[in-house]
Symmetry: C3
């Protein structure tokens, strides 16, 4: 399992984190307690310094967190401020804490060197605070390593097969290749599917050009815009953004985040919904119903793929033309992870 | 786990394999997809060449099988015939396929060298296509290695204890020893229990001689015929087959097959029923009810035995006189497995 | 996992062992069958000499135990006395048996050198046969190693936090330190909590002094007496036993036993109830309801602690002043275990 540590990982939907209620999460196999109190957001290693009881079973006391095994009290910087029955507090006793940010309705945790935790590296997702979009949200837990989910999102040709019944993309979708552009921290995919009647379940009478563009960014964040336009739009626009006012039906945005929780487990967060000027709540609800169905299809396939890989002595793959995005992204991850390992060794 | 690879393993009841519906099975810890289409029966390794997704989640298209992750299409010989979006197909790309035969209502898969896959080595079981017998069938999944189930079937003295309540064999059954004859690929067991009132739950008023003969054949196939006859028959016939016309009650046949699926898992297939001239559907149903009960008794004992073995640092056994069949068969397996390993090394 | 072998471990509540019904238990990861017949109590390794089937699936026949796989019969000393179908019985064939004693309503098994199994080393618990106490009982299975439960019982400061809602001890309980006295095979804890209104859920109007004394003894046995008295009693008595006649409310006794069953599993046995002169059945029932709630709180915390420890590469603890009892007891265990290992090596 190779992952970049110097990156912001999605830890939770902001809406799922209640004030004064510690929340247990896991990123890169490290147990973390996430809590917010008195407008401060904190992420600690989820183990008390005393006897390693999980602090996620603890109690918020103002801006402090108490371990509910033997009562040690920690301030929001991780320092021990009280040990019941004991006057002397070891001054160097301190919990490891992680840089944490709330942005675009996601709680982001930096898993690498805290000195490099630059919030400017948080991908520009669209959150529920953005008035332009009407979004729904959810998450799914996978019994598979995050990389396999990344690979899935880096090759949309699977839409024609895994989602033949749900998204109804049709085999012609997998026959076309998107334009790929390497980015500093990811890959951009741009695609027009030209002159079809649209995906199977939402066919239009007129011929349409379907537009879709997404960035897939470190550590595993997908940000995608898409819409359908009258035939000829693709030829006219090229890969410039089409004029939403000319859209047939909704223009939608989806953000998806893949967080490795353990060696063979991951949490997959997602939102989806229309632009407010080109869709409404009913369309959002329809999209979320569709997402629940389609993302369950991915989960069945990817977890089964993981089980096959685990039973294969020396697993080898045979890349196809559609793996270019997968390869670009995974090489980026390996290059950065190698650089991190080198720095760690030099230090 | 020592097993012979050059043997036909039972993969499924033919009735459980639907046309155009790929079926996931596992033999010797290898994931296999079994499918039939256009009157052809095929067994492939259950992993796509591309990214190791299981083909058992795939779709039959005529006599071809499509991976439903990214759409690679395979012909019935395992060759890739289509890669969506890609013109060039690597000519050497080919799935491993296994020799497979449908016979006696069982699907048999050859796990060894394909060049040696001789259908004449398929044990002469009685299938549902045999008009002489009225059979029922089933299978059970074990959390135990196949060898322990073989051992069970190679020593019927357990009938007096494991099945004291179901088959009701009585302690006298375990006091007698069957005649054993080594076969080229197994062991023959022949037995008369003389002058009893029959097993506990099906007692007769008159004294009877109970006859039972079975072959236990590689890789783990039991074929057994049995019946009850008037006292004196044993003395008159010796080990020649008695005249079924003189049977008291039913003359029955059962075939049982033990397939190692993983290191600590096995699937146990079975059929049972009377000869059509010496029994009827009601007797078959009674026998199947009895089999469900008795085979569950074996499963409880053998899975518990497996758990004890797994917790024993250096497990040792103390053979008894009844282990002669177990020993004969397991030595045969070891001898053949050693020969296979030697050939593999020489090659 | 370091445990002392030369000690009596609690195997079961006597009431849970039915005559002629073999019972499967596990101590220090060794499978053991416990059975009583014809007034004899026996503990064997739970694996038949023949093929390692568990004898706990066996059948008592008078003072003998029969393996119900192939019928081997063992006498109460573990000798084979019958092998079906076989005349010769290997004279040296014998099951390992464990010294076993029934005392204070518990079945105790000695896991060490049988020659040292001195019943005088059985801790002086109070059983249901003691007319002075009205007791209830139970047990809980833990997915955690026994040592973590011992540690919990060796530091009652957790009452203020883990049991804040159930026992309602209040933070002042954890602020006080008990008097500790090292014993030859354990540690004594004595404590007065002076001048409070008692624990939260059972507050009294008058000020009271709460008295509590317990011994924690090898291998993991807690024996505790406690009661509440008028304020001033503590000062008058010191650590001498107060006069029960002056108790406010019940004087109670509890015995608790922690038995390591596997590497990460344990069984926790407990009784609790009032002295007959200072309480009744209603109080016992109230205490058992409270115990069920409070011991479930411990289980949640300790199993979570175990999971954190298992995910921590090099787990380190930071002892506090309350860990003195934990440290004393664990050092005693380590010293004795080391001595046992040394003797084993010398032998």
């Amino acid at each position: 399992m190779t992952y970049v540590r110097n990156a912001w990982y999605v830890a939770a939907w902001a809406q799922d984190l209640e004030p004064d209620r510690p929340m247990a999460i896991s990123i890169l196999n490290e147990p973390i307690v996430l809590w917010s109190a008195e407008d401060r957001l904190v992420a600690f290693e989820d183990r008390c310094l005393h006897r390693l009881a999980p602090l996620s079973l603890g109690r918020c006391e103002g801006a402090r967190l108490r371990c509910m095994y033997h009562g040690l009290l920690f301030d929001a910087d991780g320092a021990v401020v009280q040990i019941p029955g004991q006057d002397m507090i070891p001054p160097q006793a301190r919990l490891r804490s992680y840089p944490v940010e709330l942005r675009h309705s996601w709680v982001w945790i930096w898993m690498g060197d805290p000195a490099r935790a630059d919030p400017a590296l948080i991908p520009p997702a669209v959150g529920f605070d953005n008035p332009d979009y009407i979004l729904g949200r959810g998450f799914l837990d996978y019994a598979a390593e995050a990389r396999l989910i990344n690979d899935n999102l880096l090759d949309f040709s699977h839409l024609s097969y895994v989602h033949a019944e749900s998204f109804g993309a049709g085999p012609e979708f997998a026959d076309e290749r998107p334009r790929l552009t390497p980015l500093e921290r990811g890959v951009r995919f741009e695609r027009w599917v030209v002159g079809t009647h649209g995906p199977g379940r939402r066919k239009s009478d007129a011929l349409i050009d379907s537009w879709q563009t997404y960035d897939f960014l470190l550590p595993g964040i997908l940000l995608m815009w898409s819409g359908s336009f009258v035939a000829g739009t693709a030829e006219r626009c090229g890969f410039a953004q089409p004029d939403y006012a000319e859209a047939i039906g909704a223009v939608t945005f989806t953000s998806q985040a893949v967080t490795p929780t353990g060696d063979r487990t991951a949490r997959y967060f997602f939102s989806w919904g229309p632009h407010r000027d080109h869709g409404d709540e009913a369309i959002r609800d329809m999209l979320m119903t569709l997402a629940d169905r389609a993302f369950a299809e991915d989960k069945v396939m990817i977890e089964a793929q993981q089980r096959v890989i685990d039973r294969t002595p020396s697993p080898r793959i045979m890349p196809t033309v559609h793996d270019r995005g997968v390869t670009l992204f995974n090489r980026l991850v390996e290059r950065l992870a190698r650089a991190e390992a080198g720095e760690a060794e030099a230090a």
